[in-house]
């Protein structure tokens, strides 16, 4: 059953001991969003290495369900070493591939929350340096 994948051991493991969770003291780009339906919240911070606009480090913080938190953790891991242009091209399907599940419509928002945060950061995000 599709939904059973939601609580696979690996996702639960990531949820309990997430990688890339934390804070960057002076990020280059950051954004935070929450899902008003459930109260999940995710913040993503990026440290950029110029001149190639490479993502040197990506971290997330926040709280919420297994799907939203594990996908944020996996996305942050995926982002490291990518260029901003590559990150900007990420689509919903890419995220679902990265986290390896196909959630029901009701849970899709949880899975895609971190992608939305990333887009927010890349297109409208607070440029911390100019703050």
């Amino acid at each position: 059953m599709i939904e059973d994948q939601l609580y696979r051991e690996t996702l639960l493991e990531i949820y309990k001991n997430p990688k890339n969770r934390g804070e960057i003291a002076s990020p280059d780009i950051e954004a935070r969003l929450d899902n008003p339906l459930c109260g999940d919240e995710v913040r993503i911070q990026l440290k950029i290495q110029n001149p190639k606009s490479k993502i040197q480090r990506a971290v997330f913080s926040g709280n919420g369900c297994v799907i939203s938190q594990a996908s944020a953790s996996l996305l942050a891991g995926y982002l490291e070493g990518k260029t901003l242009d590559e990150a900007k091209k990420l689509k919903s399907d890419d995220i679902l591939k990265i986290i390896g599940i196909n959630p029901s419509p009701a849970r899709l928002g949880c899975a895609l929350l971190s992608l939305n945060v990333l887009k927010e950061a890349l297109f409208n995000g607070v440029q911390s340096k100019s703050r």
């Binding site: 059953m1 059973d4 939601l6 609580y7 459930c38 109260g39 999940d40 919420g64 369900c65 297994v66």
Partner: protein, 474 residues
């Protein structure tokens, strides 16, 4: 009910019965009461005479009227525990709606042909049924809206914008649904009024014990808007006492009661509660979506300007101006939700045939059973009053570890419950300030209707145990 006052025959019978010395109180209750009645005393209402019985609701028979309850979810029988969001509909309601569309679909209050006459009669009959159901007194005080939210917005626009001025105060409570909060935030911002909140205590009850309530009222208080029953905690607020206290303090403070969670679960008499405005919705009380109700005092309805304007709410129209239709139609602009009103009428008939006292007794028993069963689940914390007399069958909870830290996010919990066929709400429950007050980001919430059973509560607790196993909490 018995036939009272007695006929001549009955009178002579009782006179003959009691020609000898009058029976004493020691006589059986019934004989004594008949004697009192024969002497011209009023009989108390029947239900006060009968001894209190456990409900004898035949829930299986009630369930048979709800086609959806035969459904399976992920291969398991549906256990529907999200009634505070919306209730399921009995076939009688569904049939009333399809009968309208199949047999007498026409617009209301227009023309004189047979179909419009039948449609108008059914629409207005539904209004009467609803008025009787909540003991509103006069059906003209029942305005059909889309839902409780629209009913409250109607008051905020048509009454609020005319009567609430800069510096005035609107008193709310910490347990309001967004529908009885955001319209007042908008109004307050627009006119420069101030919002105040009656806080709740750790049991999830309003802090209104004397003299606390007095402290929230000032000479600037114009409106008190308060929920009858909390959609998150299930708490039943003593609205009648609150209203009488406030009216004693100053009779021109207007009071709106949000009855969206009360009318589906409790016997409600609006005339007894005596609010200025009372709002509720059809879809939580076995009726269809898209139909809600606003009750208001007559003098207010007369004084208020219309909310929405257009067709049906006018008497005469010329190029420059219009005069308003009589109440309640003055507040029902455009073609109304005719099928919805007829469906709500059928829902009211259905609830009345079960009896709201029986509905309440059954749900109370179920709530008490669920509170017991859930408190036996390790790591589970329940919010709201522990006493089933103080709450309806709405129970929010979280699976928490030490110090209330949530161990399974409610969203994950209800996803796993869903796999077991158990449909439960999770999230911020449309009452974000209240959840913040409880120190929770979000919660899972079960809520009952008359068709729920103890067996379904057991299925819920089994499913919760399964979720704990997946999350390695056992």
């Amino acid at each position: 009910m018995c036939n009272w006052p007695p006929t001549r025959l009955g009178m002579s019978l009782t006179t003959r019965l009691f020609a000898s010395p009058p029976p004493t109180r020691r006589a059986t209750n019934f004989v004594y009461l008949v004697y009192l009645a024969s002497r011209g005393y009023n009989l108390p209402p029947m239900e006060k005479v009968t001894t209190k019985q456990k409900t004898l609701l035949d829930v299986q028979k009630i369930r048979a009227d709800f086609p959806i309850l035969e459904r399976e979810i992920h291969g398991k029988p549906l256990v529907y525990l999200d009634n505070a969001a919306t209730s399921q509909k009995p076939r009688q309601v569904i049939k009333a709606i399809s009968d309208y569309y199949e047999q007498y679909n026409a617009n209301v209050h227009r023309g004189v042909h047979k179909l419009t006459e039948e449609a108008t009669q059914a629409y207005e009959a539904a209004r009467k049924k609803v008025a009787n159901f909540v003991n509103a007194g006069d059906a003209r005080q029942i305005i059909f809206t889309r839902n409780a939210t629209e009913a409250i917005n109607l008051v905020a626009y048509a009454w609020g914008r005319k009567n609430i001025k800069k510096g005035d105060e609107i008193l709310l409570t910490e347990m309001e649904h967004h529908s009885n909060l955001v319209p007042w935030q908008m109004l307050a911002k627009e006119v420069g009024a101030k919002l105040k909140f009656i806080p709740i205590d750790q049991n999830g009850e309003l802090r209104i014990k004397n003299p606390e309530l007095r402290n929230y009222l000032t000479p600037k208080t114009k409106l008190v808007a308060i929920t009858h029953v909390s959609n998150v905690l299930g708490t039943i607020n003593p609205v009648k006492q609150i209203i009488s206290y406030i009216k004693d303090y100053r009779s021109n403070i207007k009071i709106l009661v949000d009855g969206a969670q009360a009318v589906p679960h409790l016997p409600v008499s609006i005339q007894n509660i005596n609010p200025d405005f009372y709002a509720f919705t059809g879809h939580k009380m076995l009726g269809p979506t898209g139909i809600g109700v606003l009750y208001a005092k007559k003098e207010l309805l007369k004084e208020m300007d219309p909310f929405l304007t257009g067709g049906d709410m006018v008497l005469r129209v010329d190029k420059e101006k219009a005069t308003w239709n009589y109440i309640p139609w003055k507040f029902e602009a455009g073609t109304p939700n005719i099928a919805g009103a007829i469906g709500l009428g059928a829902a009211v008939d259905h609830l009345s045939s079960i009896g709201m006292k029986n509905v309440r007794e059954h749900e109370k028993e179920l709530t008490s059973y669920a509170l017991g069963a859930l408190s036996k689940v390790k790591n589970l914390s329940i919010y709201g009053p522990r006493d089933e007399n103080k709450r309806i069958g709405v129970i929010p909870f979280n699976i928490a570890r030490e110090k209330g830290k949530v161990a399974i996010d409610p969203h994950d919990l209800v996803s796993i419950l869903d796999l077991e066929g158990v449909e439960v709400r999770s999230g911020r429950l449309c009452a974000e300030p209240l959840l913040n007050r409880l120190g929770a980001e979000s919660a899972a919430r079960i809520s009952f209707q008359v068709y729920n059973t103890k067996d379904e509560v057991d299925k819920l607790t089994n499913a919760i145990e399964k979720a704990k196993k997946i999350f390695k909490l056992i």
